[in-house]
Amino acid sequence: MIAWFSDPTHWTGSDGVFALVIQHLIYSGVALFFACLIGLPIGLYVGHTGRGVVLIAGLANALRSLPSLGLIVLLVILFGPVFASDMAFIVPSIIVLVLLAVPPIMSGTYAGVAAVDPAAVDAARGMGKRPLDILFDVELPCALPLIFSGLRSATLQIISTATIAAYVSLGGLGRLIIDGRAQNDYYQMAAGAVLVGALALLVDLAIGILSRLTVSPGLTRRL
């Protein structure tokens, strides 16, 4: 495997490691963006109002039991003919990534907002903060630790599933594994696996750092 990694032709070029990492990150980033766009507002709304708790809990459970591979394959066959060229597998793949990432973001956000000390919210109301100020000055910052933990599971889920989506031709590090399997090249598969694992760990670390920078030390109780 070391031999595989030390071959410079494996790193550069349109199907080199660098290009694959960039692709993996782009697809994951786009999926995460849309998942946040959907999950955050819903989680904030449900946490703030307390409406729809049962619905999102049920939704999260149901989506967790859906097999991601099956979903990707299903959507590719259903939507494939609708889109031209690469979009035929990119769009269905991204949809599945978003679908899997929304529940953790949504539940994390909801749980975070719901867990905010009711006394702090009452005090904020009593001193004359308007509802949106309460949401953004009090509830959101206090919910950040749980939002980040939701974001973390969502991101890992996305990176993991994006790897699987290589099976329906999606670019990214999964290519090394799927193509390696097709060519019976175990070293390429193992290299892909190592790279995906490393990517997941690095992204996880990055989110950890981001959360450390944005979450108030008053909440983490770190001195």
Binding site: M1, N61, A62, R64, S65, L66, P67, S68, L69, G70, L71, V73, L74, V76, I77, L78, L156, I159, S160, T163, I164, Y167, V168, G174, I177, I178, R181, Y186, M189, A190, G192, A193, V194, V196, G197, A200, L201, D204
Partner: protein, 216 residues
């Protein structure tokens, strides 16, 4: 949907279903058995806690397909060996359940533990008679997550060729044929619901003292 295809293939589908069932359940059972002592260690503060929970978090980060591919390197197995899948899923279940067991033991009210100590329970009997039974609701909640996500992850193993319902997906794509895909998804969801219900039922039976059973 081509029901005639389903009927013709029903024998093979049943076989795949049983494989899927085994691959989903066995790792969770092994994971739970390992997680009980490890979670107990992790719950007691100090070196074990940070190490065990840190390692669990790290393992949980690794994407499933990567783990399936890498395990032969570690275990010396062949890539097609179902053992890889079993071990990988055990690792996931263990990583999730160590935290759950430790959280569950932590959820036992300190008053109850003090009362048990005051009555003269020694540490191990106290663990089995008092702490573990009271930790069941939290452990069961984690177990449900582990079981349900395992059912979904098992199907990924189709990409390296292990027999289970995931093969219906790969077959469906190759044939551009929806029936096996839909059948696979439905069976996966059913299996997840079945196992989830089983854990829920068992937990309810084990916690008659809870107002709503194990549902939290």
């Amino acid at each position: 949907m081509r029901f005639d295809w389903l009927y013709r293939e029903s024998g093979r589908i049943a076989e795949l279903f049983l494989w899927h069932l085994g691959l989903s359940v066995i790792p969770v059972v092994i994971g739970l058995l390992l997680a009980l002592p490890l979670g107990w260690l992790a719950q007691r503060a100090g070196f074990f806690r940070s190490t065990l929970l840190g390692a669990a978090g790290l393992l949980y980060t690794i994407p499933s397909l990567a783990l399936f591919v890498l395990l032969p390197l570690v275990l010396g197995t062949r890539i097609l060996d179902p053992m890889n899948v079993v071990v990988a899923l055990t690792v996931y279940a263990l990583a999730l359940l160590v935290r759950t067991v430790s959280d569950g033991l932590e959820s036992v009210p300190p008053d109850v533990i003090q009362a048990a100590n005051a009555m003269g329970y020694r540490r191990l009997p106290r663990l089995f008679v008092v702490e573990l039974p009271l930790a069941v609701p939290v452990i069961a909640a984690g177990l449900r997550v582990a079981v349900v996500s395992n059912v979904s992850i098992v199907s990924v193993a189709a990409l390296i060729g292990t027999p289970q319902l995931g093969l219906l997906f790969t077959q469906g794509l190759q044939l551009r044929f929806l029936t096996p895909i839909i059948a696979g998804i439905v069976l996966c969801v059913l299996l997840a619901a079945l196992l989830d219900g089983l854990v829920l039922f068992a937990a309810k039976r084990m916690t008659p003292w809870q107002p709503g059973g194990a549902e939290r």
